[in-house]
Subunit: 468 residues, 2 copies
C-alpha cells in the first residue's frame, strides 16, 4: 500500500486497489467503474438526486450528440470548448453530412428545446437536470476521477426564469443545494466568484466551489452560473411577459462531476486505504467472526444475532477463509466505517467489539444494545469526519499581505491564500503570473486595506491557489 | 387525439402528448426524455436492476468509446456492426491517431478487461451489467423508442464461466429473469431460438423474446446469447482450470432496451392515451376534488383524508383550475391507473369513487377503507391488464400448414405464424422471401408433420412474422 504523503501515487493506487475503478482501459483519460466503485457512485447520486427532486427539479435525458450548427451558434461558448470537443464524422463507412459533437456540456443540446417549451411567463420556472457522460479532449495530463476525457458522472441542471430576480434566487438555491450536498459528503469547500476572465463561456458570472486536496492544490468541485440572457438571445428563448411583450428568458445552470468522489476519497482516506462516510459506504458495518477451533458454534450464533440486530444498515458478514487480521486489513482498505468483531469471549459475555474506521477507536458493547450502539457510532463518525475535514481545510487557508508572503506560503504549504485585491483584471493576471497560481476569485465579504499587488484600494477578499 | 387503429401515428402522438419524449430534437433517431417519461423509465429500470441484483449480477460502467483496434479484433462481430458504427475522428481541431467507435454494444470494450480480471476458475462466474447509451447509424426509418440512432436505455449483461455447462445455466437464468421482467410489465412474449443466420454476430446461438404490436408486426424486446468461446479466443480470456491447464472462458451476454417501454405503451394504451401498470406509473392514484360553490370545505377535508389514507402509494391531488371533466381527460391521457373522485355527496357520505383506467369501471367505497380498496383495485388491475395482453397475443399466434395459408394470415391479420420447419437454411431463407416475413426462429417443442416449404420431415416448430 502506498503512503498518503505521496499523494498522487497513493490516490491512483487506492482507487485501483479498493475496486473503485479499473484504470487500465485502453483509452487515455477513460476508466471503468467496478462494482464497489459503482455502488459508491450510486449512493452519491442518490443523495444529489434527493436534494434536487425535493427542490422541484425534474430529471430529464437529452441526446449525447449535438449537430455542428447548434453547437456553433453561441460564439463565446464555442470559443471556450472548441479545442476539446470530440467530433463524430462517420456513420459506418459513410461520411456524415453534418458533423456531430459529443457533448462537452449540454447547453447547446438543451436550449433549442427550451425555445420550444417556453411560450409564456407561466411556463416558467423550468428546472431540469440530467446525469450523463460528457466528453473533453483534454490535452493536459489525465487523472482518474479528476481530469477525464469521458466524464462519466456529470450532473448538470438547467433553469429558465421570467425575471432576472428569479434567476438570482435560483443561483442562491443552487448554492444552498450544493452546500448541503458537500456537507453531507464531508467535503469542505471555499466559495468564490470566479474572475471575469475565468467564468463559464457564455455566463454573466460563475460561482465555484473549491476544496483543497492533501497535496495542497485546490480542486474545483462544483460551479453555478448565472447565464443572464446570453443563451436565450442566441437560441431565441422568448416568452410573453405579464405586460404581453416578448422578452428573453433568464437562465442559470450548475454542475457537479466525478470529482466529488475523488475529493471524498482524497480527503478522508489514509495510509490504510479508503475511509468512507456511512451515507455513501456500500457496506456500513462488516461483522468479522473470530473463530477458535471447538468454539465455533457460540460465535456463529452471536454473529447471527448481531446481523439481525443491524437490519436496516448495509451489513456484510465476512464468513470467508483467512485470518481475522487479513480481514481487518481488507475491510479497512475498502473504507468500511464500522467493524464489529465477535470472538468466543464476546459470545460468552454476549458482547461485541465496535471499531471505528476513522479513528481506530474500540468499544465493547452488549449485543442486546448493538443496534443502538452501531447507529450512534455511525452518527458520531459522520460528525467527526466532517469536523476533521473542515478543520483541515481551515488550516490550509492562510492570510497573506504581500506577494512574497503568498509565494512562500504556496511553496511551503500550499492551500488557499486569502488576501485583498483591487478588482482590476491587469492586477489579477499579474498576480497569477507572479505566483504561478490561479485566482479562485472573490467572496462577498467586504475588504479593507491595500491590494496585494498594486497597493491601491482593496475592494475584494481574494482566494488564490495552485489548482488542478 | 389519434385513434389507436392508426397505430404508428397514434404511438408517436401519445409519446409526445403524454410527455414521454420530445421528438423534435434536431438529429434523426434521437429524442429527449421529458420528466414524465423519465419517471416511467426510472421505474422500469428499478424493476430490472432489482431482478439482476438479486441474482448476483453486479452493476458496472464502461467507457463509451472503443479504440478501433479492439473493435476490429472479432471479425464476425465487426462484420455485423461495421455499417452502423459512428466513428469519432477528431479531438478539437486535431485528427485523432486512433479512431474511436461509439459503442454499438460493449463486448469489445468489456472483454479486454475480462482478460485482465480472470486468472483462475475461482475468479468465475463473473456476472456484470451496465445501463448505458449505445449508438447505431440506422439507415432504416427511425421511430421513437423502437428504432433509434442513440439507444438511451441499453441494459447489457455480460458473464464469464469456467465450464460450458455453467454458461448454459446462465442462459437459463437470463431467460428466467427476462420472463419475470416482462411478466411484471405486462408485456407478453414469444421465445424463439433465432435461425443461425440471424444470431448475434459472434454468438454460438441467440434466444430472443418477441412481442406483437397492435399493427400485427412483431418487435424484438430482449435477447440472450451464448457466446461459447468465440470472444474469449479473440480477447485471450484464459483461466487455469481445476486440472491446472489454461482454458478459454465460456461467455454469455443478454440485453434489453427502450423497446420495453415502447411495448408497454403500445400494448396497453388506447384511444384515450397511455394506460400504465401501477408498478411503473409515476402517479398511481390521482385524486380529483369535485368542487361546488359553497361546499368546498367538506370536499377538501375529505380529499385530505383520502390523501393521508393513500400514503405509501404515488399519489397526486389535482387541485388545479379547470373542470373535473378536463382533469379526467388529462389524467386518463397520462395513463394514471386509478382515479379517485370526491364530490360534495361523497364528502357527506364519507365515500369516494374509484375509477380504473384500464376498464373505466367505477366503484363507490367508504373513505375509511380507501387504503385497502385502492390497493386491491391496483392489484386487480395488474392481473387483468396482464391477462388481457396475454390473451391478445395468444389470439395473434396462428397455426398454418401451407405457405398460402401463412401468406393469407400475414396479410389479413398479421401476428405470428406457428408452423413446422425441416431446419434447413435453404428452406428457411425461401420461406422468408416467399412470405416477405422473418423467421423469428424455433421453440423447443417437438414437431411432427411436414416442413411448410419443402414438405420434408419437420424437425422444429417455427415462428414467422413481419417484424420491426
Amino acid at each position: 500500500m502506498k503512503k498518503k504523503e505521496d499523494f498522487s501515487t497513493w490516490l491512483n493506487d487506492i482507487i485501483d486497489r479498493a475496486g473503485i475503478l479499473d484504470i487500465r482501459y485502453p483509452i487515455k483519460g477513460t476508466y471503468v467503474w467496478r462494482p464497489y466503485g459503482f455502488k459508491v457512485r450510486a449512493n452519491v447520486l442518490r443523495i444529489l438526486r434527493g436534494l434536487l427532486d425535493e427542490t422541484g427539479h425534474e430529471e430529464v435525458l437529452f441526446p449525447l450528440l449535438i449537430p455542428e450548427e447548434e453547437f456553433m451558434k453561441e460564439a463565446i461558448h464555442v470559443k471556450g470548448f472548441e479545442d476539446e470537443v470530440y467530433w463524430v464524422t462517420h456513420g459506418g463507412l459513410t461520411p456524415l453530412n453534418v458533423k456531430l459533437a459529443l457533448r462537452p456540456t449540454s447547453e447547446t443540446a438543451i436550449y433549442p428545446m427550451f425555445a420550444l417549451w417556453i411560450r409564456s411567463h407561466a411556463d416558467m420556472p423550468i428546472k431540469v437536470y440530467q446525469v450523463v457522460n460528457v466528453f473533453r479532449y483534454e490535452t493536459k495530463a489525465t487523472r482518474p476521477l479528476i481530469r477525464l476525457r469521458e466524464i462519466t458522472t456529470f450532473k448538470e441542471a438547467h433553469t429558465a426564469h421570467a425575471t432576472p430576480e428569479d434567476a438570482e434566487r435560483q443561483v442562491e438555491e443552487a448554492l444552498s443545494i450544493y452546500k448541503r450536498f458537500f456537507d453531507t459528503l464531508g467535503i469542505p469547500y471555499v466559495v468564490s466568484k470566479r474572475p471575469d476572465w475565468d467564468k463559464f463561456p457564455g455566463a454573466d458570472y460563475t460561482i465555484a466551489f473549491d476544496t483543497v486536496l492533501p497535496d495542497g492544490r485546490s480542486l474545483q468541485i462544483g460551479t453555478v452560473h448565472n447565464l443572464g440572457t446570453n443563451f436565450s438571445k442566441t437560441f431565441d428563448i422568448l416568452f410573453e411577459n405579464t405586460q404581453g411583450e416578448q422578452e428573453h428568458a433568464y437562465q442559470t445552470c450548475y454542475g457537479i462531476s466525478d470529482r466529488v468522489i475523488a475529493s471524498h476519497i482524497a480527503i478522508h482516506g489514509d495510509d490504510k486505504g479508503l475511509s468512507l462516510m456511512p451515507e455513501i459506504a456500500p457496506v456500513q458495518c462488516v461483522i468479522v467472526p473470530i473463530i477458535f477451533k471447538g468454539r465455533e458454534e457460540a460465535v456463529l450464533r452471536a454473529v447471527e444475532k448481531a446481523e439481525k440486530a443491524l437490519k436496516g444498515l448495509r451489513v456484510h458478514v465476512d464468513r470467508g477463509e483467512g485470518t481475522p487480521g487479513s480481514k481487518f486489513y481488507h475491510w479497512e482498505m475498502k473504507g468500511v466505517p464500522l467493524r464489529i468483531e465477535i470472538g468466543p469471549r464476546d459470545a460468552e459475555k454476549d458482547t461485541a467489539v465496535l471499531v471505528r474506521r476513522d479513528t481506530g477507536e474500540k468499544k465493547t458493547v452488549p449485543l442486546g444494545d448493538l443496534s443502538g450502539s452501531a447507529a450512534a457510532a455511525l452518527r458520531e463518525m459522520e460528525a467527526s469526519m466532517r469536523k476533521k475535514a473542515e478543520d483541515e481545510l481551515k488550516a490550509m487557508i492562510t492570510e497573506a499581505a504581500t506577494l512574497e508572503e503568498a509565494a512562500r506560503i504556496l511553496r511551503e504549504k500550499g492551500g488557499i491564500i486569502r488576501t485583498v485585491w483591487c478588482g482590476e483584471k491587469e492586477c489579477g493576471v499579474e498576480i497569477e503570473e507572479v505566483l504561478n497560481a490561479k485566482l479562485l476569485g472573490t467572496n462577498n465579504e467586504s475588504a479593507s486595506g491595500p491590494c496585494i499587488h498594486c497597493g491601491g484600494k482593496g475592494r475584494h477578499i481574494l482566494h488564490i491557489s495552485r489548482s488542478y
